[in-house]
Symmetry: C2
Subunit: 497 residues, 2 copies
Amino acid sequence: MSQFHIYNSYTRQKEQFESITPGHAGLYVCGPTVSGESHLGHARPYITFDVLQRYLKHLGYKVRYVRNVTDAGHFEEEGRVAEDKVSEKALLEKLEPMELVHKYTSLFHHGMRLFNCEEPSIEPTATGHIVEQISMIETIIGKGYAYEVNGSVYFDVAKYAAAYPYGKLSGRVLEDQLETTRELDGQDEKRNKADFALWKSAPPQHIMRWKSPWGEGFPGWHIECSAMSSKYLGVTFDIHGGGMDLQFPHHESEIAQSTVAHGHAPVRYWMHNNMITINGKKMGKSYNNVIKLSELFSGGHPLLAQPYHPMVVRFYILQTHYRSTLDFSNEALQAAERAFRRLWEAWEVLQKLDHPGNAAAGDKELDGKVTAWCNECADFMNDDMNTARVLANLFETAPVINGIKGGQIKTDALSAATINLLKETFQTYLLEILGMQPLQTQSTGKLDEVLSLLIEIRKEAKKRKDFTTSDQIRDKLAQAGIQLKDEKDGSVSYTVS
Amino acid sequence: MSQFHIYNSYTRQKEQFESITPGHAGLYVCGPTVSGESHLGHARPYITFDVLQRYLKHLGYKVRYVRNVTDAGHFEEEGRVAEDKVSEKALLEKLEPMELVHKYTSLFHHGMRLFNCEEPSIEPTATGHIVEQISMIETIIGKGYAYEVNGSVYFDVAKYAAAYPYGKLSGRVLEDQLETTRELDGQDEKRNKADFALWKSAPPQHIMRWKSPWGEGFPGWHIECSAMSSKYLGVTFDIHGGGMDLQFPHHESEIAQSTVAHGHAPVRYWMHNNMITINGKKMGKSYNNVIKLSELFSGGHPLLAQPYHPMVVRFYILQTHYRSTLDFSNEALQAAERAFRRLWEAWEVLQKLDHPGNAAAGDKELDGKVTAWCNECADFMNDDMNTARVLANLFETAPVINGIKGGQIKTDALSAATINLLKETFQTYLLEILGMQPLQTQSTGKLDEVLSLLIEIRKEAKKRKDFTTSDQIRDKLAQAGIQLKDEKDGSVSYTVS
């Protein structure tokens, strides 16, 4: 495809991407809830939409990428018990939710750096946008689609569904939702079970609380994304991304809130990545297969046979199209590691490959194939971001690269232009768009080991009076900025400058 | 001193530190204004108060360390021109202040990591606490110490000064302040020139704006710290830190605001670090000597003769007591680098030092000296955190350590217990409390250089049929996880696992 097409989850078809403001693209992605450490399930959306924003930049768009941090709302309800029941206790002795927020946000950022995910342009927090959320709730009440009960405010889903198409994104019908809604307490306050909270009155033991027109409370889960996306991207923006599990109720509720507040749907293109399974099972606490990112990188989870490098995980995720399910297993990750090493080695060989002489291709058929593999990468990315096929094409070129180096393929089989195209394709697609980096070589520790070895070799050379070798080692190391020093006790130390 | 004493800038004397809540210590430090990149002037307070929170932890306190990020208030006024004057333009085409906030916050965090400053427990933002600031302003108005004019709210300094001791922290008297106040526009709205804004009405071109009881606007500079410190540390908390330049008007205003709102002074101990000068001159744009952190680390500023490692800067700062002025010059930093290398080398030697045999000291006088140097470290830290004297004592021990290694001092001169005390002192004071780390050796690149050298040596050994050496190199490298591979073209490649 010569233009960028996106599968729009809302219309359920691939559509050509056209941004609202020419030359600019606005992207909102639902970020982490920082009530705990991020896990493997979080890796996929953030890597997927990192590639999307990289690709949009590659296409020449100025991208504003907004990814929120949920640090309030449904925060305390999901397992974390407020510990300030003894209200006479000094403030410092109490659990302060914002300490946990800071800790887990910081860990999340660390994980994103390891995955080589570029930072979003703005990372707004729910607690940082209470004013905006209250303001939007007031608008929704003013338009008659929300009601207050006992200091809480609920969105009137039944009334909304009667006036607007509700459930289109998630493919649900109102009647089915009575059982599936995972709403907070307060069912008896609602007019309808499908209604959801925009604002919750804070019970006395609730620590996170803000003043509002309806008394002290805290925002519901969904309103933050509507308030923050419209603030930073506008009341209609280009792309909203997130995991498929967020389609309902979260994204459906976002659409309802924004449609009432602004009079029209908020998003042009909805994009959802599919889920990760582990050894064929859904991730979940009951399966004991929720692998935290730190466990993934250290190998510290019973299901893991070894640590996995963040780049191996990134590579594995991008080897599958984002809308397909993806199963994690030790075998699959180990295979991904081998594949990635092979591909990266080809890239390192390729960088040093020079064309010997005349510009024409010695093997026109092969030259044509390689050219096609390179050129198809753009088509694959344009076809709903098919990173899997991009990687497959890069793999096709690896035997050619290795063949030229190994002598099985003549050095002039490809034209100079094709070798350059190949280099550019790796640089652009593998490094810049897919964001791959070499596996860290843990070289810090290795340097010490290698230097010890060199010092030993030098010692033995001296013993056998081979001063050529011993001096050569000392001098060459000095050139590399490493000073050997013969200590009085016979040992040799070194300083690296 | 056997107890921790702090010089309290408010009382102008050293006082024994006693925390309000036993076992807990609350610390608030004024953080960066993220309208631009952090510079050298920011390094000192954050390194100073990092050492403070490390020391409080060392003393057994559970520390809640709150350091804010100023991302609103006096933000847009300081040089950054709002660019959304053309209001018809699409939102995405406009400057979004929060993009800059994200960029500079992220750069600041990066700098703090390089300085090995531990993260604060909570890092609240001004824009994230609009509700709390509005609420506090309402309280101050309710108590009669603030007034609204045209949608802005001002603190009535004259009225406050008549009722409370004003100016004690900064040593200023009200009459002197007519000229020095660096307030925003709106002088004609104030009853008194010394009054300061709690809330400013936003002119139409002002992008950062929030709804308030006084119309759309944004908070004044000082109110955020009062609102956030009381929220997270309580209405009276232990320690407030910051640079001396913040005493007036910022900290003086914080005291006034909190005293009115809560009926008493907010802070038990005020701590202020002294300023950094550059080649004897105050830092300032007019001197063209504002060195950004990135320039400091890269050497990319006309005043810098070379790049300076973040650990060298940290070391240099801690070599001077935090209440003394500190002059930056290339000579001083180069000397600090040499000194730090020497001290770190002594630490590396010390770690390998074993006591040869019997436990008693062979040189009682020297043993007594070393013991005293070690024990004094606690006294120096307790004496208003005198990191300069701690480092001086550690330096005293370096010739002893080197002397033992070099043979000038007998290996049993110190008792086994003293050698252990020495090791513990370095570990506790140099590493844990002062937070020093080894200079990075840039070993990644070095490893490649050293491996090339080894490959070359092996090649020459093979040439002269010295297969013992060539095999030894291959095998030892394999043990270190480095695989050599003889390529068909005669070159040797390697993989590091």
